[in-house]
Subunit: 338 residues, 2 copies
């Protein structure tokens, strides 16, 4: 019993020159496609997130209302549901899983949306973090298909600082001898716990910890150590190490300028976006700082910067803080109404 | 042939209830003590730094001019020169080295300055990072002895976010099986390299990497990877893992409120400082953000906040960037002249 569907992609030629054989795209839809097929929204997943982790932004009375919109949540390659190191048969499993870009993810999502679901226009693409990266990619790869985008807490090109932060994440896993260069039979749990502690300082802002918001509703942890174990180690302990490394590769290599036709010209790719855009970094996001998105907006033709205020940092877009959820939801409503 | 002296401390009772037996305090002095003993400056070291790493701020024509001042650089316990896991004989070596606080460090530095060097007044205490923590501690432990302080890129109490950042550092080391719970014969080099990559994102700001300043004078690395290996892995590979863990304990437990008499009252300890203070966080320091020091200054009676501008982040205080060196040096001159 699974709560999602799987689109069989066959053998997929990747932008990296590798082949993803017998590839699967796991997805879930919410609501019904209307008669003129004008109410479709794509809402991709994020680093290690799965479709159900996106559901906090979908609901009756919200912008992403299934009684009005047909919302498609495609699972990113590497997230354990779509083709991933953990679910691909030998020999392409585990550390031999090929490198997949945002371009590859979005090309296959496009096949799902057009070939399989018969949709030619998207009212909106939106997503958090790596989901924002896929959102930008949609607007660049298919400029005439995407009417609106709302990338939040993400970027159109992974910054060097973000690449460096992810080096810490990757090496926390790879330092564990139990990782065995990816050929483990059991998860490298020391490494996964270490990733939790490395990530903890990045996910929320300095001020979030200063104010000890992890002790308050809705998180309600008893102490800092309780939060580090219960939230952060717990977050990564139920993930697959090779999946995390595969998605880190996708993230580190994120760049809409690598879309065919742009030849590395990132600013040209930004300028090519036709969708109306609300670009929403979080005020104190430590790896997607607002100034980076300010730069992106300055190269777009129909984009507005809307900073999510507050101290939750990157997790302002994680769906746990009611104030941030409301702020994002209201922006989505305004964008969809325009 | 060593370029420093060692003060024999004997058996030291630590604030944690443990004993540091046959303890050594390594230090170096620059310049001459004047006749009325009024020109002494204490300038403690930082996380893994040794006295020679402080010398960039000392020199002819600078504020810390050895022709005017008698500058004492005491090496922090755990830094490999003063008593440390790496140089203490069994059974108190390696992972059995006792926990040492800033209070303990400063109490023994005070013995060096008073008992051994015969000094009763300090014109200034200054330091970077954990050196700033020791600077605050001097002003709280010996309020009538310290005339001026200039802590830069540090804090009087280690913030929870900073504690979390250090958890990532600690666990990068401890995840390496070669660490062997501290009982290694050879350094856990995978863990030390991983620490370099974890630390890299914290040491410099997002904007520093965005602008690729690691490629420019004075750093002059050829690429991001060259910087990660050459600077960051190199930085930690010649350190001892247990020393790094011992100093991390000192850092994580930094709090002037734990000074005897204050019973945990951090704000009371700040208010007790009599020294004139210039408090100098760096604008984009990711683990000692300016707002934390703004809070500290608001509880001090004779303190001024002076933010070091620019994008070098924590390493604005590391002595590599000429602009930052000049900014700190000018503030030191102004403070010493007042």
């Amino acid at each position: 019993m699974v709560d999602y569907e799987t689109f069989e992609l066959g053998d997929v030629q990747l932008s990296t020159g590798q082949t993803l054989r017998d590839a699967k795209l796991a997805y879930k839809t919410y609501g019904e496609l209307n008669a003129d097929k004008s109410n479709a929204i794509v809402y991709p997943t994020w680093y290690s997130g799965q479709h159900h982790d996106n559901e906090w932004l979908i609901g009756q009375g919200m912008a992403l209302d299934p009684s009005k919109y047909f919302i498609i949540v495609p699972n990113m390659f590497g997230n354990g549901l779509s083709s991933s190191p953990s679910n691909t048969p030998p020999p392409h499993n585990s550390p031999r899983f090929p490198n997949v870009t945002f371009q590859d993810n979005v090309a296959q999502q496009h096949r799902l949306v057009t070939e399989h679901l018969g949709i030619e226009k998207l009212a909106l693409v939106t997503g958090w973090s790596m989901g924002a990266g896929q959102t930008y990619q949609w607007a660049v790869s298919y400029p005439d298909m995407v009417e609106r985008i709302l990338p939040f807490c993400g970027s159109s090109k992974t910054s060097e600082h973000n690449i460096v932060f992810l080096e810490g994440v990757r090496h926390a896993i790879m330092t564990d001898a139990a990782w065995q260069e990816g050929l483990y039979d059991e998860q490298p749990v020391k490494g996964l716990r270490a990733v939790g502690r490395v990530y903890a300082g990045w996910g929320f802002s300095q001020a979030f910890y200063w104010q000890q918001l992890y002790k308050q509703d809705p998180l309600d942890y008893a102490s800092l150590e309780d939060f580090l174990v219960g939230f952060w180690e717990g977050f990564f302990l139920n993930k697959d190490a090779n999946n995390l490394l595969a998605m880190a590769w996708t993230w580190q290599n994120g760049d809409i300028g690598q879309t065919p036709g742009f030849d590395g010209n990132h600013e040209g790719a930004l300028a090519s976006i036709k969708a109306k855009a609300f670009v929403m970094p979080a005020e104190k996001d430590l790896y997607f700082p607002p100034e980076d998105e300010e730069y992106a907006v300055s190269h777009m033709t129909n984009a507005e910067l809307r900073v999510i205020p507050g101290v939750w940092g990157h997790f302002a877009g994680g769906g746990a803080n009611p104030v941030d959820i409301q702020f994002i939801d209201e922006a989505l409503k305004e964008l969809l109404a325009s």
